[in-house]
């Protein structure tokens, strides 16, 4: 399988703190990749580096072999990377439909000037985008709430709107930062099924996820991080069985011995 996303010794420090060090990710086309790790492992920093909100100190990011590092976020978005946020970041004052319309900016199919003048072609394009936005809302089960103010909806609903907004640009790679945070098991499975449907439609997904069951059920590949470095790469089962991963999550075996001897 050819790689859609590759990072090459990616590194980022904040002052003396190394958030990401020598990270090598490899995400093949049409795969659901998981990014796991304890709190503070650097997962969200990776998402910020990939989407261009943060500039890497070292290393490269390749999308379909094209270097992305150092480009402004809107160029990276145009190249085909879309994302959601760990703490939902919808636009205040906008309806659900308007949020997704904003996400469709890249595929508006008309110039700003033509749209301003209200030319017939621009109007037709606008209607087409609007119906596309409604389709996307339908995919995440929010079409019947299209006219409501997004900030009045529940957290889980806002997360789904954010996914629809990210899908607006029809990205090659979708980055989801803890898409199921604050959701119950049923809602989480809904997100998992949505992610599978997107993959089956040809999209590639990289998601930061804490829920181990969800990663086991829905991810094809996993990278586990700790202290900014990759501890393990592989299928979810391989990663869970990896001794370093178990140590990062549950502590070291000899620590357990020592605790026993203290009793």
């Amino acid at each position: 399988m050819s790689l859609l996303l590759e990072t090459d010794d990616l590194g980022k420090s904040f002052g003396g703190l190394t958030a990401v060090a020598d990270l090598n990710l490899a995400v093949p086309h049409g795969c659901v990749a998981g990014l796991m790790g304890p709190n503070g492992a650097g997962k969200t920093t990776v998402i910020n580096l990939l989407s261009g909100l943060l500039r890497a100190d070292r290393g490269r990011v390749l999308l379909d072999g094209v270097p992305m590092q150092g480009l402004p976020p809107h160029h990276i978005a145009a190249a085909g990377i879309a994302r959601t946020y760990q703490n939902v970041r919808l636009f205040s004052g906008m309806t659900v439909l308007e949020q997704v319309m904003a996400g469709c900016f890249l595929r508006r199919g008309t110039s700003l000037m033509a749209s301003f003048l209200g030319l017939p072609a621009a109007r037709a394009a606008h209607r087409a985008v609007q119906s596309h936005a409604l389709d996307l809302l339908d995919r995440v089960g929010m079409a019947d709430r299209a006219e409501e103010l997004a900030e009045t909806l529940s957290y889980g609903e806002q997360r789904r709107i954010e996914i629809a907004r990210a899908l607006g640009s029809n990205p090659k790679l979708l980055l989801l930062d803890e898409p199921t945070a604050g959701m119950n098991a049923q809602e989480s499975d809904g997100i998992g099924r949505l992610v599978h449907a997107l993959r089956d439609g040809g999209m590639t997904v990289l998601m930061v996820e804490h829920n181990v069951r969800l990663v086991m059920d829905f991810c094809d590949r996993v990278t586990v991080m700790n202290f900014g470095r990759a501890l393990a790469n592989g299928t979810p089962a391989e990663c869970m069985a990896h001794p370093d991963v178990q140590a990062a999550y549950f502590g070291r075996a000899d620590d357990a011995e020592r605790i026993r001897s203290l009793r």
Binding site: S51, G52, L53, P72, P73, H74, I76, A77, A78, A82, R83, Y85, R89, F91, S92, G93, M94, T95, E98, M101, A102, G103, F105, L106, R108, T110, L112, S115, F116, L117, G118, H126, E147, E148, L149, T152, R165, A166, G168, S169
Partner: protein
């Protein structure tokens, strides 16, 4: 009946005229605010539009109805240059820099004597019919309505609420904000020329802090989330002192302040607030 109307016109006609001039200034402020920028540079665009527009009419014989579009072009060109510099600054520094620009504007107006008449000011012996001003405000309002309806409007709202998120959706914040500056410049230039035509005289103090105060107050009052708020706010803010003067002359200033305070306390997002309507609509459904 006719007498009565004439009395009203004699008493409040000029208030209406200044309300319209202030509406241009408020719209100019709204233009940048709607893309997430607080800038007082409208005063500078107004000065450039007013002084240069007047000179074009006096020395090149440009007809009055062409002077206003010329002032719009002058303001827009100046705003484009301002945007190139200002968009490198963080938002609060940008606001401060624009205040500095207002101060510089006055110094230039004082010293560029051939252009501005310096300390003696510049007489503007031009006549522009009141109806012309109404039509012009109507045209500018249509422009703002179209901007709001178009892809630019969607992008500007996103940039205003969260420029980082907007950029990850592929919306280029700098480009959107540059357009906002140019629109602000054109509207401010028209406002400056309209003020010159209303006052028939320009001095270095014509375009100064008082305009900056008026336009911010008008936008806060009317609501900074809809272009109609800027227009309404400008009229209310212009009429308030006049009405207060007529009703309770002794307490004019107090009444003014109380009215502004009441609006800010009970309608913090201004008289026209689209979000409020939507919340009500959401609550009903």
């Amino acid at each position: 009946m006719k007498m009565w109307l004439e009395d009203i016109w004699a008493a409040y006609g000029s208030t209406l005229g200044f309300g319209m001039v202030n509406a241009f200034f408020a719209l100019s402020t709204y233009a940048v605010l709607s893309a997430g920028i607080l800038s007082f540079a409208t005063v500078t665009y107004a000065a450039a539009g007013g002084f240069l527009g007047t000179q074009l009419a006096l020395h090149l014989g440009l007809p009055v109805f062409l002077v206003l579009p010329a002032a719009a072009l002058i303001g827009a060109a100046l705003a484009f240059v301002v945007a190139l510099v200002f968009l490198r600054l963080e938002s609060h520094w940008m606001a401060l820099a624009s205040l500095a620009l207002v101060l510089i504007t006055r110094v230039v107006a004082l010293n560029a004597t051939p252009l501005t008449g310096g300390v003696y000011g510049l007489s503007v012996p031009l006549f522009f019919p009141f109806a012309g001003l109404v039509v012009l405000l109507g045209v500018v309002a249509v422009v703002f309505w179209r901007l709001n309806q178009s892809w630019y409007g969607i992008a500007a709202r996103a940039v205003r609420e969260d420029p980082a998120v907007a950029s990850t959706l592929g919306i280029p914040p700098r480009r959107i904000q540059t357009i906002a500056f140019v629109v602000s410049g054109a509207t401010g230039g028209i406002g400056g020329m309209a003020l010159a035509l209303s006052l028939q005289f320009l001095s270095p103090d014509t375009y100064f802090i008082n305009i900056a105060f008026t336009m911010i107050a008008a936008v806060v009052l009317g609501g900074s989330y809809h272009w109609a708020g800027a227009i309404l706010g400008a009229f209310v803010f212009t009429a308030l002192p006049v009405v207060a003067q007529a009703v309770l002359p002794e307490f004019e200033k107090v009444l003014n302040g109380v009215a502004l305070l009441l609006i800010m306390i009970f309608l913090p997002r201004g008289l026209i607030d689209p979000r409020f309507w939507r919340l009500r609509k959401s609550a009903k459904s």
